[in-house]
């Protein structure tokens, strides 16, 4: 549907099979990087309406979201914390607890996730070690769970894109951050960390050793992009950490590198 047809409408959009197919595929993939989302959009146009101009992605998604709004669902855009890749997922709004995952997991599994989540939020690095999580197995609600079983449940969380594992430690998957940010901020208002630059939830990032403010790695990269002498935006002390390189879609396309070739970042800088 050409966007010119929507000139009289401010809030409502129009759904066609292009949008429906897009939503179906986005849902089945769970979370997708921006490049993949653009390819997906093009694919949907091709299947249904070869001749129409592919709408700019931002407008396309805003259009869809205006229709989804009344259903408390949204196509939400986020950014991966470690390398700043833009990602998209279809998220439920308005559910206020870990019950977002509720139908996937048993009561004791949900509780294990809650415990892991709390450890992650309380940690300095944004990571919780497998050992520390497993030590809490006795405190879980519901059916008794052994450590061996808990290890498998943690892997299930990784497969379902709720957690990421790195060298025996766990942090939140960007999909979980997208879906649960509101819940986390509301449930852990005292321990939750926020980014000084973008003001959203921070799990992994860098912090100033003098005044303690924190910034996401992609936010650091953007903020200090052209400074030769990076200084803390709050207390002006020297910024003590290496400024990371973040995802640049143009560079990657030119170099033709796959994501596995990218310089992997030591994301724990504290």
């Amino acid at each position: 549907v050409p966007s010119s047809m929507q000139c009289g409408t401010r809030r409502m959009g129009v759904m066609t099979d292009v949008h429906r197919r897009f939503l179906q595929l986005l849902m089945t993939h769970g979370v997708l990087e921006e490049q993949a989302v653009k390819r997906l959009q093009k694919h949907c146009y091709k299947v249904h309406d070869c001749n129409a101009t592919v709408e700019k992605l931002e407008d396309f998604i805003n259009n869809i979201n205006s229709v989804l709004e009344s259903l408390c669902i949204e196509v939400k855009k986020g950014v991966t914390e470690d390398d700043g890749r833009p990602i998209y997922a279809l998220v439920n709004l308005a559910t206020t607890s870990v019950s977002k995952m509720a139908s996937d997991f048993a009561e004791n599994e949900l509780d294990l996730f809650r415990k892991a989540l709390e450890l992650i939020i309380d940690s300095e690095s944004g990571f919780a070690s497998s050992t520390n999580i497993l030590n809490l197995v006795d405190q879980l609600k519901g059916k008794k769970m052994r450590k061996k079983e808990a290890e498998q449940v943690l892997q299930k969380f990784v497969q379902n894109k709720w957690l990421i594992e790195k060298e025996g430690e766990f942090t939140l998957h960007s999909r979980a951050i997208l879906e649960m940010e509101q819940y986390i901020r509301a449930t852990y208002p005292d321990s939750v960390k926020m980014c000084n630059i973008c003001h959203s939830l921070l799990i992994q990032g860098q912090s100033c050793e003098t005044c303690g403010i924190r910034m996401h790695l992609p936010c650091v990269a953007k903020y200090f992009r052209s400074s030769s002498e990076p200084r803390c935006p709050h207390c002006n002390d020297c910024w003590p950490h290496e400024i990371p390189e973040i995802f640049n879609p143009e560079k990657e396309r030119e170099a033709g590198t796959s994501s596995s070739n990218k310089k992997s970042l030591r994301s724990r800088q504290h």
Binding site: G8, T9, M12, G13, V14, R20, I73, L90, T95
Partner: protein, 318 residues
């Protein structure tokens, strides 16, 4: 009256005005009278629709029906009231439609909230490719709203159809088990990229074909014999599929694409495969038959090469 109050009152008036003009909109192809898009148990009695039944406060009624609209109009629900309609839209695509307009009150209405919750549950089940039982749906909606269940279900499935192009289908005649199917045809690329789940393993198609060929049921032995032509053997780990026995007797069965059951009166017990409810709901029979024709024309010795060729193709494209 203090300044703040006056403007609040005006805003409320405007919203009430907008609500009485707001009407939901469907595509031109739908011929049945459609549901009011923003029903709530306390909808204002000033609705103009001739078939409307005034809703008594607190008692949810059948929402007022609106006449079918021949051009899809898109409604601005931000409270500007007045005409309530925006641009008419050319009905070029039979499937273009606008979703019903929300109003502030309907979003707080518990019944409407339940519609959202049920819809989210259904979408989740679609993602997980799991069957849905009526009991599960009732649980989500909550016993308290049991009487409104069919209304809630209808509204949720309408949204699912309009917004996501998905259908809730009964799997068997008992009406207890359901599955969600796309109204949109699944393209070859979508299948290959694994974005659809059917048939991810590419094994399902041949199996469904063999079962039809055999008169709608095939014994386990017959299945393994056929699979051996494809280089797949019971107990031998396959480079793409992993453990084939686990795949066909457990994973595919769990997704209700196949049924695996004991052959009645067999001793020692033997097992057979049949099409599962999900295959009946989802499988494009024509495509399955096409596949059958292709393999019928092929020398069994060439099967394996042909089959493995398709794996390589898939890997190249991925």
């Amino acid at each position: 009256m203090p300044y703040g109050q006056k403007s609040k009152l005006r805003a409320r008036e405007k919203r009430r005005q907008a609500r009485s003009d707001t009407h939901s909109v469907k595509g031109a192809q739908t011929t049945t009278a459609e549901e009011e898009g923003s029903p709530s148990s306390s909808s204002p009695p000033s609705r103009d629709s001739p078939e409307s039944s005034p809703a008594a406060a607190g008692i949810p009624q059948e929402p007022p029906r609106v006449q079918p609209i021949t051009t899809a109009t898109v409604v601005d629900a931000s409270g500007t009231g007045a005409s309530g309609g925006a641009e008419g839209q050319d009905e070029g695509g039979p499937s273009s439609s606008a979703a019903p307009a929300p109003t502030e009150r309907s979003q707080r209405d518990p019944v409407t909230r339940r519609v959202s919750t049920l819809l989210q549950f259904l979408l989740h089940k679609y993602k997980m490719k799991e069957p849905i039982t009526k009991a599960e749906m009732l649980k989500i909606v909550n016993k308290r709203y049991k009487e409104h269940f069919s209304d809630i279900l209808r509204r949720a499935t309408e949204h699912m159809e309009l917004v996501f192009g998905l259908d809730l289908k009964e799997v068997d005649s008992t009406g207890q088990s359901y599955t969600i199917v796309s109204k949109l045809e699944i393209t070859k690329e979508e299948n290959l990229s694994g974005g659809r789940g059917f048939p991810k393993t590419r094994l399902l198609m041949p199996l469904l074909g063999i079962i039809i060929l055999n008169g709608n049921r095939a014994t386990e032995d017959e299945i393994w014999e056929f699979l051996s032509f494809l280089g797949i053997y019971d107990g031998k780990r396959h480079f793409m599929l992993g453990d084939p026995r686990r795949l066909i007797t457990r994973d595919i069965v769990k997704e209700t694409y196949l049924e695996y059951q004991e052959v009645p009166n067999s001793y020692p017990p033997r097992y057979e495969f049949l099409w599962g409810p999900r295959a009946h709901a989802e499988a494009n029979e024509e495509k399955v038959l096409e596949f059958l024709v292709k393999i019928n024309d092929t020398d069994p010795r060439a099967f394996q090469a042909l089959y493995e060729e398709t794996w390589v193709d898939e890997a190249k494209r991925a």
